[in-house]
Symmetry: C2
Subunit: 299 residues, 2 copies
């Protein structure tokens, strides 16, 4: 059973941080999200790659239990080139080559259509919408986005949000989309768009979960060594949705746990470049950090 389905980008990233650099490394929102989800469930990816995409990456994804039948083959893989400065809070883009993404039309394999859970990772909101519309009976649709779509496709984005149950944004995006510096106000506005919940990711400051009349504040993990924050937000959303797909429990209590698992996978991801750190963590590592998340907030 393939669940959740995850639509987003699969990319080859070249980037530099104060702690090193990588060239043509595995990246993209669907890639990070599906690896993160794979610690909890059996996700399937919807995306497009090119003929230049190394087989070893597909093999790696499959070895993680990720279904890649929904990845279409185009001419050339989407590439992103960027860097992070001293404070590593924001990725600066040097160059984006959309390549195959430019003409990507969502094709959903039959096996994916019965999935009950979906994570719409960052990609054009019209593609996100197409993915949801292909699900027979979605139980929970979680969606992410980014500033580019807020600026350039706000109308389509709001249409997709209408179809989503849980909206995941970072703090800057929440402020931008709802036009207020106050995150509580932003979340309350989002809840009025009949989303069940809003999650605001705040990087090192943790994450906030807002539901109808409850609020959960997840801590950031105290990482002393951050090598590369690329993909942390995608990991968060992927792990969150993967954990929900595993537990099939939509209670507020379980959403809180899912937020913590999302934070855990994201915190590991920042410890090395590309998806390297995720290659060698296991369930024991995840549970160890889960306990630490508990201990750093007891009073």
């Amino acid at each position: 059973m393939i669940d959740p389905i995850i639509i987003g980008t699969v990319a080859l990233d070249s980037l530099e941080t104060p702690f090193g650099r990588v060239k043509n490394a595995l990246g993209g929102s669907a890639c990070y999200a599906s690896i993160a989800a794979s610690f909890f469930s059996k996700p399937g990816i919807l995306s497009i790659i090119g003929k230049d995409f190394p087989d070893e990456h597909i093999n790696f994804l499959n070895k993680k239990g990720i279904n890649t039948l929904g990845i279409i083959l185009g001419e050339k893989t989407f590439r992103w080139q960027g860097f992070y400065e001293f404070d590593m809070n924001e990725a600066k883009t040097l160059r984006t080559e959309l390549n195959a993404l430019e003409s990507y039309k969502v094709e959903v394999p039959e096996d994916y259509k019965n999935a009950k859970y979906a994570f719409l990772a960052n990609i054009d909101p019209e593609l996100q919408l197409a993915a949801v519309n292909n699900m027979k009976k979605p139980e929970l649709v979680v969606m992410d986005t980014m500033n580019f779509w807020i600026e350039h496709k706000k109308k389509q984005l709001l249409k997709t949000i209408e179809k989503a149950d849980i909206l995941v944004l970072n703090d800057a995006e929440a402020r931008q989309l709802f036009n207020t510096p106050n995150l509580v106000k932003a979340a309350n506005t989002a809840l009025k768009l009949h989303t069940k919940a809003v999650i605001i990711k705040k990087g090192e400051h943790g994450a906030l979960l807002f539901t109808d009349n409850k609020h959960f504040n997840a801590p950031g993990y105290p990482l002393e060594n951050i090598k590369d924050p690329t993909g942390c937000g995608d990991c968060f959303g992927g792990a969150f949705t993967g954990y929900i797909a595993k537990t099939q429990d939509l209670s507020e209590t379980n959403l809180r746990k899912a937020v913590v698992y999302g934070s855990i996978i994201a915190s590991y991801n920042a410890e090395d470049f590309s998806i390297e750190r995720l290659r060698n963590i296991n369930h024991e590592d995840i549970e160890k950090r889960y306990k630490e998340f508990k201990s750093i907030r007891e009073f």
Copy 2:
């Protein structure tokens, strides 16, 4: 029994935020901190005011159980004029009149010298040091500072830090003082200066407590309406120290509680201009918010 003693400024503030403005309102680091501490204990202020300082403010402080014998009378009260922009994250200074502060020499009343706890609120580090040196047997000295002293009196500041047990900084100051964007690294460097604990205040993102090998992450309170954040950091340190003075318990567990009480008083303070909100909260309000702080972090 006067405890803690609190050195800092007493000021008349004129400021504007997107939600209104006040003129010559009660302010200053020692003022905010002592009112915050007064919810838990009987603080005494060390500071200086001028002949222009309204009696009603002294009466109010005394009514709160705050000893003001340590406030010297000079010519003219310290005045600060500033504003906050849309996001209210940073106070912009329009004008600072040091006035009486310029020639302030610390004079510690006999009654203050037996205090066991001190909060060195933001003021010249040499004045902070003089206050500590007048204590007969300090058990816990908590100190705050600000970017101005890091930039202009770093040497004297580090000397005062040597005398302090707990260093309280905001995130930007921690990054600046210890020359790293990583707050965990900054805290670890601070702990090497033989401070017992380091607390990093992060405004809406809460506060971090670092001790030898433990870490506590206090949430920010989800405030939908923030009118004026002036003095929140001072309130945090004052309430923190006041709670410690009340409980006389320096265990890590109790430091965590003190951090939460500091956060609670700071969160109330932001809800109105000057010290207005603190005029009308009581123990019930504080305990109510304490419970909310618990509930927003359970998972």
